[in-house]
Symmetry: C2
Subunit: 251 residues, 2 copies
């Protein structure tokens, strides 16, 4: 979306290593923000982004205006099921906005491959669904989350945090890591997993987070699961003050 | 969709003349039929279609199964505004089904150009919107309606007509042509256009049709219009017995 940080730059570097041409889109997409969300104040820094993209060898930085992308109200993509869970439940039109703009950007750029960060794990799942369901000729690459040294997942929204909240924020990842240790420790019965998830959420709440969800999901469908025979992930969304953070960890 | 007639063959011929490779899709798409519509009995004739396509020099006939196109419930494309009018009003999910399968077919085939018949005019408008709104890299070509010698627009559904109804059916096109003559005859006031449309519908009803709509629309948006300074068309949908027919004429 913009205001590039190390997470974005890592995506560009991975694309740079594996492809002849690298195009980066820089577009804060209004249709994936809900009413009362942070569209207006979302971090933007075009001059700096141009410089950073050039430094990692990006060939084209595509930074269209809203009018170029949305000249009139248009078609949108509805994503089955996975878009209604978790982030989709809290942000009802979010993933339709994401799916639509990503499909448009793919078609404009005509890319062979697309690089997204694991930090937005459900977004990755949604886009993989769009690619599969609409038969888009694009190879999807999910890249690891880049973290600050204290474990906080890099995000443009981290800028919103006060020093006090910034100090608290790494607890999200610590709690994900601890919870993973607990639930992969031998074959725990379903009840123990439920309890581990609840305990993690409670610990965050006790520290001052307001937790939207702390869940174990199947990686393909984003549905809640209680078995580890399939690829799955722990996901969390929580607010500190006015700032909403998400993170996840694969199992 | 299949059971090829001269209308389909003309599309193939036009594509043949203007392109190096011609791919024809043959797929009766379940998601564009509503409950109680004619999906099950829609005309199909694979053996004959293969022969006809070969005769006009088609390179590839792509005839996938339902399971190949829809392995699971998936993403769908919602088309703004134009999909809610006329056919969309009577067949609520029809154009979403059309838009989604056409987008999928475009992506599977990776065609540079696509040929559709003017007979399904609103479908043409919808697909042009999908191409524009989702930035699909496809050139759209609308080909003229092919008619029987008595004026009836060719359609797979004409097979459903009894001999008696078949004799009545050409009246649709005659009424469209007459109405066009009346409304383009100098600069008629809006009321006269309204009356000409109503008179045409009444004449069809008196002859035994049940008219869903008889309208003058803007060619770009499918919205009703009363001025001819912009490209527009007369459109009609009516039932004879159990068979629903549509037709249109450009102004």
């Amino acid at each position: 979306m913009g205001a590039f940080h190390q997470g974005h730059l890592q995506l560009m570097q991975a694309a740079r290593e594996e492809n002849d041409r690298v195009v980066v889109s820089l577009f804060v997409n209004p249709t994936q923000f809900g009413k009362g969300e942070d569209f207006e104040r979302y971090p933007r820094n075009l001059e700096r982004d141009i410089e950073l993209a050039a430094q990692v060898g990006v060939d084209v930085l595509f930074a269209p205006s809203n009018e170029e992308i949305y000249p009139r109200p248009g078609c949108s993509i509805q994503v089955a099921e996975v878009a209604d869970l978790w982030e989709g439940e809290i942000r009802p039109h979010h993933f339709s906005g994401v799916a639509t703009v990503v499909c448009k950007l793919f078609n404009i750029v005509r890319c062979d491959a697309a690089y997204f960060g694991q930090k937005d794990l459900q977004q990755c799942i949604v886009i993989q669904r769009v690619i599969a369901d609409l038969n888009l000729p694009v190879r999807f690459s999910r890249q690891p989350t880049i973290r600050e040294t204290d474990g906080l997942a890099m995000s443009s929204r981290n800028q919103y945090l006060s020093p006090e909240h910034r100090a608290l924020a790494p607890m999200l990842y610590r709690q994900l890591s601890e919870c993973r240790e607990i639930i992969i420790d031998t074959q725990r019965p379903e009840n123990d997993v439920d309890r581990a998830l609840r305990d993690s959420a409670s610990a965050l709440e006790a520290a001052g987070f307001r937790v939207d969800y702390f869940e174990l999901i199947e990686l393909d469908s984003a549905r809640p699961v209680r078995e580890f025979s399939i690829p799955c992930a722990l996901i969390v969304a929580a607010k500190i003050g006015h700032t909403r953070l998400i993170d996840n960890i694969l199992i």
